[in-house]
């Protein structure tokens, strides 16, 4: 009897295991079909990469393609390009994959590459993102139907990263651009996995599966980017099942969404980081000793752990997010309350009325300029810095502006601030794009040198790194750059940003890319049964 029962149990277990195995394998089999809806906080402005702006870029990534692409691990691959070689330090020869077709049916040839780059770099009407690809010289030389040679104005180590990760490098269909003229923005044609269907202003952009996609047709039939400007509504739109992907989860909603068993909440590293820069071009922060004292007075670790929280950022030890090529630990944070106190005293500051440090009758009053929406919790971080500095007797005024004003202040010739928040996502994933801000040539109003500091030594390091083709030597140069930044106390790196993407459990095959703009495609995504 006993034996029988055992047998029955074993048999039942076997049957159960079999059912489980088949259902699992069935569940893991990618299925074709369905609609994937992705929530976006803001509408697109056009489907033309020449004029693309803001959130448009996320839609472009599925319709247009660049010559190279970086995968989610940061490894560079030829994309539309099959093979490439450097003829010399400034000449790059590329051969395209054959048989790739634009959505219009026209074949992708070297002429389209030439056309795109010359259109983007047209001096009379440059593309929005032309600055990123400015190293490429026009006219472009076409060698044969599938081969082009790019010449750069100087040896450019990051040229492949630039060709991979920029809005300006998305290849457009010459025939369609010419045919539609100004209306190309609503009649786009690229080589990507999805074709444009319609854009209902302020509501959604709809894309459809490109069955002839050269890289293998996508699984989903329809891809919708749905505009929902309000944070609370965005979260409810996901939870109600109206949308499948909430690309950027509002910080305040992360905890709540984690508790929902039907959702997957993923913390994704990005190329972005947030720094606090001092204004080195005017008193009193033009004194490196004061800048260093301030950097030592700010307890960044406490701010990142308590205010920013690990959901949003990881403490910076250098100038770049660890995901970026060129990231180097240069010993930040510098927090040291004793050293800071001593430094303020050595500079001649004495506690005056209300405990505010005073020198020659002048209280140490500084201003911090920031845009509260640019990065999550900016306002809270600013308040924390204000409180910490106050405990040393520094009177910090936080001046909060909306983006247009903030951007103007950052880039204005006057530079009316002592400190400024500067968050930046390095699209290319290569340090050069951000390091370049610190060049003398980028002193505002010409560029974005928000620390307003330049020196021949710094220029030399940045330019040498830009041209150095040896990766190891290049990394060393960026460490050198970080050391100068630290020794000159140009600012305080705060944190490397995370993005939190929330998806429904039935969304499979989604690779989450650190680059949130040019590379996030939905080609391999498939939808399992919804339950």
């Amino acid at each position: 009897m006993k034996l029988h029962r055992h047998r029955l149990l074993v048999l039942l277990a076997l049957v159960f295991a079999l059912v489980l195995a088949t259902s699992l394998s069935w569940a893991q089999q990618p299925r074709q079909g369905g609609t994937l809806t992705v929530i976006t906080p803001s509408d697109i402005s056009t489907m033309d990469p020449h004029d693309g702006y803001g959130f448009s870029v996320r839609v472009f990534a599925n319709v247009y393609e660049p010559l190279f692409r970086k995968d989610e691990k940061g490894v560079l691959h030829g994309h539309l390009v099959e093979s490439w070689k450097f003829l010399d330090a400034t000449h790059l020869q590329m051969t395209l994959r054959k048989g790739i077709k634009f959505h219009s049916g026209t074949e992708l040839t070297a002429d389209a590459v030439k056309f795109t780059y010359e259109r983007q770099l047209d001096p009379a009407n440059p593309a929005v993102d032309a600055q990123v690809i400015r190293a490429v010289k026009i006219p472009i030389r076409v060698v044969d139907r599938y081969t082009v040679v790019f010449e750069t104005s100087e040896p450019t180590a990051a040229i492949l990263d630039i060709l991979a990760q920029s809005l300006a490098s998305l290849i457009q269909d010459p025939g369609e651009v010419k045919k539609w003229g100004k209306d190309y923005g609503v009649h786009p044609s690229g080589t990507g996995p999805f074709k444009f269907v319609e854009w209902v202003r302020g509501q959604y952009v709809k894309l459809a599966r490109n069955p002839d996609y050269w890289g293998g047709a996508p699984y989903i039939d329809t891809l919708i980017f749905k505009v929902v400007p309000e944070e609370g509504t965005r979260v409810l739109a996901l939870e109600s099942g109206e949308a499948d992907v909430l690309y950027e989860t509002p910080a305040s909603a992360i905890q709540g969404l984690r508790a929902n068993p039907k959702l997957v909440v993923s913390r994704v590293p990005t190329f972005r980081d947030v720094n606090l820069h001092f204004n080195a071009s005017r008193a009193p922060t033009n004194d490196v000793r004061l800048r260093r004292a301030l950097a030592q007075a700010i307890n960044v670790k406490a701010i990142v752990e308590e205010v920013v929280t690990p959901d949003i950022g990881v403490l910076s030890t250098g100038l770049f997010n660890p995901t970026v090529f060129g990231a180097c630990d240069v010993g930040f944070p510098l927090y040291s309350p004793e050293k800071a106190k001593k430094a303020f005293a050595d500079l001649g500051y004495r506690p005056g009325r209300d405990g505010v440090l005073t020198k020659d009758g002048q209280p140490l009053q500084l201003s911090l300029v920031m845009n509260p929406q640019r990065d999550p919790r900016n306002g809270e971080v600013a308040e924390a810095i204000q409180a910490q500095l106050r405990s040393f007797g520094v009177d910090l005024k936080v001046r909060s502006f909306e983006f247009a004003t903030y951007a103007k202040m950052l880039a204005s010739a006057e530079g009316d601030y002592d400190m400024i928040f500067h968050g930046y996502g390095i699209g290319t994933g290569d340090a050069d794009l951000k390091a370049g801000f610190f060049l003398r040539a980028n002193m505002p109003p010409a560029g974005q040198n928000s620390a307003r500091y330049s020196s021949p030594e710094l220029d030399n390091v940045i330019l040498a790194a830009r041209q150095e083709m040896n990766k190891e030597k290049r990394k060393e140069l960026y460490c050198k750059f970080g050391q100068i930044y630290r020794d000159q106390a140009l600012g305080v790196p705060l944190y490397g940003s995370f993005r939190t993407t929330t998806t429904w459990k039935h969304v499979n095959g989604m690779t989450l890319h650190p680059d949130e703009w040019y590379s996030q495609t939905y080609t391999r995504v498939w939808l399992g049964p919804k339950n």
């Binding site: 803001s42 509408d43 402005s45 056009t46 004029d51 702006y53 803001g54 009379a124 009407n125 440059p126 929005v128 993102d129 032309a130 600055q131 990123v132 920029s166 809005l167 100004k182 923005g185 209902v200 202003r201 302020g202 509501q203 959604y204 749905k226 505009v227 929902v228 400007p229 309000e230 609370g232 509504t233 409810l236 739109a237 939870e239 109600s240 109206e242 502006f401 909306e402 983006f403 247009a404 004003t405 903030y406 951007a407 103007k408 202040m409 880039a411 699209g427 794009l433 370049g436 109003p445 010409a446 560029g447 974005q448």
Partner: protein, 308 residues
């Protein structure tokens, strides 16, 4: 004849008013800190590229020259192109306006119907439990911020019950929640207004006379009192139409409803002056027109009012 003259005079004043409004908005956009060119080259802003854009948008021209060009465009029915997406302003604004009109008319009808009935009932059953209940609900309606009402409705009817979509536009189902949200405020306002007007009228001597004649209460309230109590309501509702025409920024944002309120706010944030001007011109024009219509209606309802 008199009416035609009156309308013509008012239309003339409207042109002057619109000139003034657009000029003020033009100056405000000019004085506002920030710069559209910096919004457009966000990745690596460069001075030279910004200069090219400034030329394209004629931002290098003096203020008055730019305003003159804008006016010349208006005469041709051309409001220029948006600086952000480089497409014509007129269809964009008209599109947003049509969405706003749909939302405004539904919530207005809703608020008039419910508000008037609630107000009349409240007044007739003055100081009763019904009156107290209606007035308490109205107080809530007036006090609750629109985004709270909106999010609560989404939570309840979209997320919990799944009856209506959380956001967007297109079908009648998209319209229900934003319309109710907008109306919740207006209903409360209209009901309180209607109640106090009605109470005032019900105390008048001609109402007492009507009652003394032995008329039924329904006739007294419905015919004698209502018509007089409605007069101030016409003005109030007229103003509400004007307000709604400008779009409800918060309601539209909460429900991702692509109306004119959202359009103008995003355009201001991006310093997209042509779109801002287009929105202001059309909504201000609409507002003035509606007010004119209200004044004409007034004469129709109340023979004592003469339009001169």
């Amino acid at each position: 004849m008199q009416l035609a003259q009156y309308v013509l005079k008012r239309l003339g004043a409207m042109v002057l008013l619109l000139l003034g409004i657009t000029f003020i908005v033009f100056c405000l956009m000019y004085l506002a800190p920030g710069d559209v060119t910096l919004m457009l080259v966000p990745n690596v802003p460069s001075h030279e590229q910004a200069e090219i854009l400034r030329k394209q948008f004629a931002l290098d021209q003096p203020l008055l020259v730019r305003y003159g060009r804008f006016l010349a465009g208006v005469l041709h029915g051309d409001l220029g192109i948006s600086w952000i997406d480089r497409r014509p302003v007129v269809p964009q604004v008209l599109d947003a306006l049509s969405y706003t009109l749909r939302l405004a008319s539904v919530s207005l009808l809703l608020s008039i119907a419910v508000g008037l009935i609630a107000g009349i009932v409240s007044a007739v059953r003055h100081r009763s439990l019904v009156d107290e209940t209606i007035m308490t609900v109205c107080l809530l309606g007036i006090s609750a911020p629109v985004f709270v009402t909106g999010l609560l409705l989404i939570y309840l009817f979209s997320y919990r019950l799944g009856w209506f979509p959380t956001s967007g536009a297109g079908s009648w189902r998209h319209l229900v929640l934003p319309a109710v949200t907008l109306a919740s405020f207006l209903v409360a306002y209209n009901a309180r207004m209607m109640r106090s007007c009605m109470l005032e009228v019900l105390g008048q001597e001609y109402v007492r006379t009507a009652r003394a004649k032995g008329l039924k209460e329904v006739v007294v309230v419905g015919r004698h009192a209502l018509r007089n109590a409605l007069l101030p309501m016409v003005t109030v509702v007229g103003l509400q139409v004007g307000l709604l025409l400008g779009g409800s920024v918060i309601t539209e944002t909460v429900f991702a409803y692509p109306g004119i309120g959202q359009l103008v706010v995003s355009a201001i944030a991006a310093r997209d002056t042509p779109v801002v001007q287009g929105c202001v011109l059309l909504t201000a024009g609409g507002f003035i027109l509606v007010n004119l219509i209200v004044d004409i209606l007034y004469g129709g309802i109340d023979p004592r009012v003469r339009l001169t």
